[in-house]
């Protein structure tokens, strides 16, 4: 491919990485969040603090970890703590600026499903891995970013199951009190996809298209959304990846492939 060309996955990762500010504290999900966070660390945010749920605080891996508990995360961390400690003191204690999550499906309020699709809960058509750390990352971080590819199968009108909470729809009154409690942080503030960037309406919490990646139209994005996606009246075009960003990302993937025999992106 020509030097300036890039894939939709690359611009998604780069658009996400750009948002991380140096020295922010980021609780990193595996897969795409980890790729974006490490790209930020390799470029404009060298002192971003990456926390993985395996208990590694301030991990500085040279390649993308294949799991949240790779040995290199431990070797490069400022500190290694137990799993209860990472969730109690560091996450629930309010020390996380950005909870950075992937998802199998989301709805217009940024609710996430990683549990079951189709059928019933007991006998689902597709059993997904489940919650992991996400329900509490989504509600105890100061803000939450979600990164996933945008299709009608991933951006759905009605989730089969809410694993991790986004913004509560205004009319949700049937939930028990425990679940109506407001979350501590701001909840999901951005969804970054391979087509564009969505941000929540400040009143309704509904995610709205605010930026499209170069060559993508708002209509393309609406066509890849399972609900009637609202489009900001001032939709921007995501700046194209710079050569520095692209080279850094490709170096990261090349180093990862050499280390693991994979790109680290095949989840």
């Amino acid at each position: 491919m020509p030097e300036h060309a890039y894939t939709s996955t690359e611009i998604m990762t780069i658009a996400a990485a750009r948002r991380l500010v140096n020295r922010q504290v980021c609780f990193v999900g595996i897969g795409m969040p980890s790729a974006a966070a490490n790209l930020a660390r390799a470029t404009h945010a060298p002192d971003v603090v990456l926390i993985y749920e395996s208990g590694t605080i301030g991990a500085k891996p040279s390649v993308l970890p294949l799991s949240i508990g790779d040995g290199e995360l431990a070797e490069t961390a400022d500190a290694i703590v137990s799993v209860p400690e990472i969730f109690r003191y560091w996450l629930q204690g309010g020390r996380i600026d950005v909870g950075f999550l992937g998802a199998a499906q989301i709805d217009k309020y940024g609710n996430i499903n990683t549990t079951v699709i189709g059928g019933s809960y007991a006998l689902p058509q597709v059993r997904l891995p489940g919650a992991g750390g996400a329900p509490e990352i989504a509600t105890s971080s100061k803000e939450v970013w979600i990164i996933l590819k945008q299709t009608k199968r991933t951006f759905v009108e009605n989730l089969h199951f809410v694993t991790s909470s986004g913004h509560q729809p205004p009319a949700t009154t049937t939930l028990p009190a425990m679940q109506r409690k407001p979350i501590r942080g701001r909840g999901p503030t951005v969804v970054i996809t391979d087509l564009g960037i969505l941000m929540p309406d400040p009143i309704t919490g509904e995610f709205t298209l605010v930026s499209v990646h170069p060559g993508v139209s708002a209509e393309d994005t609406r066509a890849a959304t399972g609900w009637d996606l609202k489009v900001s009246d001032r939709v921007e075009v995501t700046p194209a990846p710079t050569p520095v960003e692209l080279n850094a990302l490709r170096d990261l993937h090349a180093r990862t492939a050499a280390a693991h025999g994979s790109t680290g992106m095949d989840v």
């Binding site: 595996i30 749920e53 395996s54 208990g55 970890p65 294949l66 799991s67 949240i68 508990g69 790779d70 040995g71 995360l73 431990a74 290694i80 703590v81 137990s82 799993v83 209860p84 969730f87 109690r88 996450l91 629930q92 609710n111 549990t115 809960y121 006998l123 689902p124 058509q125 597709v126 059993r127 891995p129 489940g130 919650a131 992991g132 750390g133 329900p135 509490e136 509600t139 105890s140 199951f161 809410v162 694993t163 991790s164 909470s165 986004g166 509560q168 939930l175 028990p176 009190a177 425990m178 679940q179 409690k181 979350i183 501590r184 693991h260 025999g261 994979s262 680290g264 095949d266 989840v267």
Partner: protein, 287 residues
């Protein structure tokens, strides 16, 4: 005080049909050798507890050891789905399996409560999540000081905890280094425990403040070099990513899975023989 005995005897002594078993190791130090021994001894109707039931429980579920699974994330890390786990839940193969699922923060809190002798743990959990609707072990409690409604989650007290560690001394004191996960909490929450170790040494040479579990709280310590393969033991060997990827293909089909397990696990005497049997196996490298 911990007794140092062979793994086969430890499993035979502590794990019976219907036992409640917690095998922990958060992506690191996963006690695969012990899992294989449970499979070889053909234990049935086990309740298997584990935050991340990855390949080890995929194997045990597929071999029909479990009737109930308590977990918080069921995948093959960095690779994808657990096919035996999914087949058991979606198609009841080889037998139906009941599931009880939690979040990581919740499972960690449940082990802490169990280790602390408390009936439940408190956390600010599951806000807006559907999980508590399907799990009777997750309730709520009102803080007597602030009135905040918080998640109450039932303590875990397994019959047996099984973990893997780098080394033990001859009194059974165990040293764990690297990612420490939930191992200590799992051991202290359980009635009995088995720790497999890479090696038994005269002197642990543990630095001050090191993560040491005193031998007197453990039931059995077993020397099983390489016993965490294909996961890793920090300072001893790395995770075998090629195996974890190959598992996706081995486990996808019921027949392929069954014949692989028959040949490499049921057909081998112990973990060392299992490792030998993988030599030259179709593209699967091992440490």
């Amino acid at each position: 005080m911990a007794e140092i005995i062979p793994l086969r005897e430890a499993i035979s002594a502590l794990v019976s049909d219907g036992s409640i078993l917690a095998m922990e190791g958060f992506t690191h130090l996963i006690p695969f050798a012990a899992g294989h021994e449970v499979i070889r001894q053909q234990r049935r109707n086990l309740t298997l507890i584990r935050m991340t039931p990855d390949l080890i429980y995929d194997q045990m579920i597929g071999m029909g050891c479990a009737s109930r699974l308590v977990f918080s994330w069921g995948g093959n890390p960095g690779v994808g789905s657990l096919h035996r786990f999914r087949d058991a839940i979606q198609k009841s193969w080889p037998s139906p399996i009941a599931i009880e699922e939690h979040s990581h923060a919740d499972m960690a809190a449940r082990y802490q409560a169990g280790a602390s002798g408390l009936p439940f743990a408190v956390l600010r959990g599951y806000i807006g999540s559907d999980i508590p609707k399907y799990n009777e072990s997750i309730r709520s409690v009102t803080c007597p000081f602030t009135g905040e409604v918080l998640t109450a989650t039932r303590a875990l007290n397994p019959d047996v905890a099984i973990i893997h560690a780098q080394k033990a001394d001859r009194k059974g004191n165990v040293l764990i280094q690297g990612i420490i996960g939930i191992q200590k909490e799992a051991v202290l929450a359980s009635k009995h425990s088995i720790v497999t170790v890479e090696e038994i040494v005269d002197n642990l040479e543990a630095p001050m403040n090191a993560y040491v579990i005193p031998g007197w709280v453990l039931t059995y310590v077993c020397e099983v070099p390489g016993g965490a393969f294909p996961s890793y033991a920090h300072g001893y060997y790395q995770r075998d990513n090629a195996f974890c990827k190959a598992w996706d293909g081995i486990s996808r089909d019921r027949g392929t899975f069954a014949s692989w397990m028959e040949k490499h696990v049921m057909g081998t005497e112990d973990f060392a023989a299992f490792r030998m049997s993988l030599s030259g196996n179709e593209g699967v490298q091992h440490a």
